[in-house]
């Protein structure tokens, strides 16, 4: 999935008529709700054995229990912490490298070739190496998340800077902007939309990296909860873990969208 990252363009502003959307939304819920009902029906009639997949009601019940006894909260905190620190490390690396290669010719000449080569590696495939390098504790998990975050951020920040309209830079030069002012007021703001795309992708890969990393060897966190549940054939707990993963991904995506709306409010409506 890292291969397609550079090809994702900044989201064009869409003029979806909100009225049509409001009207459509309830209709769009028909089939998902029907599927859940069908799932419940299959479980209740015994077609679907709880060893394969627990019923929606059991899943909801287990979720309640896991929340009540604090297990879910604890696992949740551990996983979020991993993503947070991994993101911090990878984000810092991606942004620093992206700025260096975007803003300086030498930076690009020296940094871009190796980064472009490394990004073709599927970073999830690095787990064996990371285990050898960092052991089986927290470090390989953070490293995997960081690697998943750094590349999309680097690529999109770099591309965003490179896409700066030369006409605006020229105008700024004639109008007396200093070099720093050109970077701060012209180059960096024009890289923001593409960088936000990178941020969305980075969050996506961060969760993905976390899920894979937590499969390997975890004694805490959502991955541990899921793997532990598998040993006892508790498909209900597995599903709860998966739903929490999905909700976390949705939440960060919504946060970036919110950030986009705030930062890009200069775009014509």
């Amino acid at each position: 999935m890292t291969l397609s990252i550079a090809g994702v363009a900044a989201r064009p502003k869409t003029a979806t008529p909100s009225q049509a959307r409001k009207f459509k939304l309830p209709l769009r819920w028909i089939s998902p709700v029907a599927l859940v009902l069908l799932w419940q029906l299959a479980s209740s009639t015994g077609v679907l054995s709880p060893d394969k997949l627990a019923s929606p009601l059991t899943v909801a019940q287990s979720a309640g229990e896991l929340i009540a006894d604090g297990q879910l909260g604890e696992a949740f905190a551990v996983s979020i912490g991993r993503v947070f620190f991994g993101f911090l490390i990878g984000g810092f690396a991606g942004v620093v490298l992206g700025l260096a290669s975007g803003l300086s010719r030498w930076g690009e000449t020296l940094l871009d070739p190796p980064v472009q080569m490394l990004r073709t590696l599927p970073h999830l495939g690095l787990i064996p190496l990371f285990i050898l390098w960092f052991g089986i504790g927290e470090e390989p998990k953070l490293a995997l998340v960081a690697a998943g975050v750094a590349f999309p951020l680097y690529l999109n920040l770099h591309a965003g800077i490179r896409q700066t309209d030369p006409g605006l830079v020229e105008a700024a030069r004639v109008l007396g902007y200093s070099r720093i002012e050109r970077v701060v007021h012209v180059v960096l703001p024009s890289a923001v939309p593409q960088t936000l795309v990178g941020l969305r992708i980075a969050f996506g890969t961060a969760w993905l990296s976390l899920i894979v990393a937590e499969q390997v060897n975890a004694d805490a966190g959502l991955g541990f909860l899921i793997n532990n549940a598998r040993e006892f054939l508790r498909t209900d707990v597995v599903v709860v873990g998966l739903v929490v993963y999905a909700l976390l991904g949705l939440t960060t995506d919504a946060l970036v969208r919110l950030l986009e709306r705030r930062i890009l409010r200069w775009r014509a409506r």
């Binding site: 024009s190 200069w266 014509a268």
Partner: protein, 233 residues
């Protein structure tokens, strides 16, 4: 008095293609000069050289004073509000006050806090003019600034530019391919063709000029551009 613009033996080639082929040009302070020519005659290249955007040239192109520019596209920073677009790069402590005063001159004070993408083409171009003039340039370069505007807006812009020029008196170099525009605004019209100045017309008509008053001279300028009006009609 020293010239505001002094160009001698200016040559510029892009690879094998010669764009400017020995240009000599003096512009006096406060003079309004129009550079007229077809697309690709080198007029915009000349302006870019004078703006300091292209330094790989043969010959001399000197602009001793301050230069400011307005392009065909307004080239405003969409992520900075209108007044910031005007004050950025000025390095003045009371930037907003200065910007508001400049906006008043182009009658856009109401839009000071608007985002540039919400402006119409004519409004954005007026902001671009205000941004150029607020720098109190000795030389104002106008690179087809009315080219992308509709005919009615263009007329209003002509008046505005003449008005602003009368008030601030910078030397103006206006690049255009619109003969009427050149005749309405300029003291002197230079016709460029294949990188050379092939004709010079002095326009001594009183201001503000009306369309009818320039008709006679229009025919002669058009003849220099290789357009036979009689035949065309």
């Amino acid at each position: 008095m020293a010239s505001a613009v002094s160009v001698r033996g200016l040559r510029k080639a892009f690879g094998p293609r010669t764009v400017l082929d020995g240009i000599d040009l003096e512009v006096q302070p406060g003079e309004f000069v129009a550079l007229l020519g077809r697309s690709g005659c080198g007029k915009s290249t000349l302006l870019r050289i004078l703006a300091g955007l292209d330094r790989e040239v043969e010959g001399q192109a000197e602009v001793p004073g301050t230069v400011s520019i307005a392009f065909q596209q307004p080239r405003l920073l969409p992520w900075r509000k209108v007044w910031r677009n005007i004050s950025l790069g000025l390095h003045k402590p009371d930037g907003r006050a200065v910007a508001l005063k400049a906006l008043e001159e182009v009658r856009l004070t109401d839009h000071a806090d608007a985002w540039p993408l919400t402006l119409s083409g004519g409004e954005a171009q007026r902001v671009s003019l205000a941004r150029a003039l607020v720098r109190e340039p000795d030389v104002l370069l106008l690179d087809e600034p009315f080219g992308a505007l509709d005919a009615l807006t263009r007329l209003a812009m002509h008046h505005l530019v003449e008005d602003l020029w009368t008030r601030h008196k910078p030397a103006v170099l206006l690049v255009t391919h619109d003969v009427d525009e050149a005749l309405l605004l300029a003291d002197r019209i230079l016709v460029l063709d294949e990188g050379r100045i092939v004709a010079t017309h002095h326009v001594d008509l009183p201001r503000p000029r009306r369309r009818a008053s320039v008709v006679e001279q229009r025919t002669r300028v058009l003849a220099d551009l290789g357009v036979d009006v009689e035949e065309a009609a």
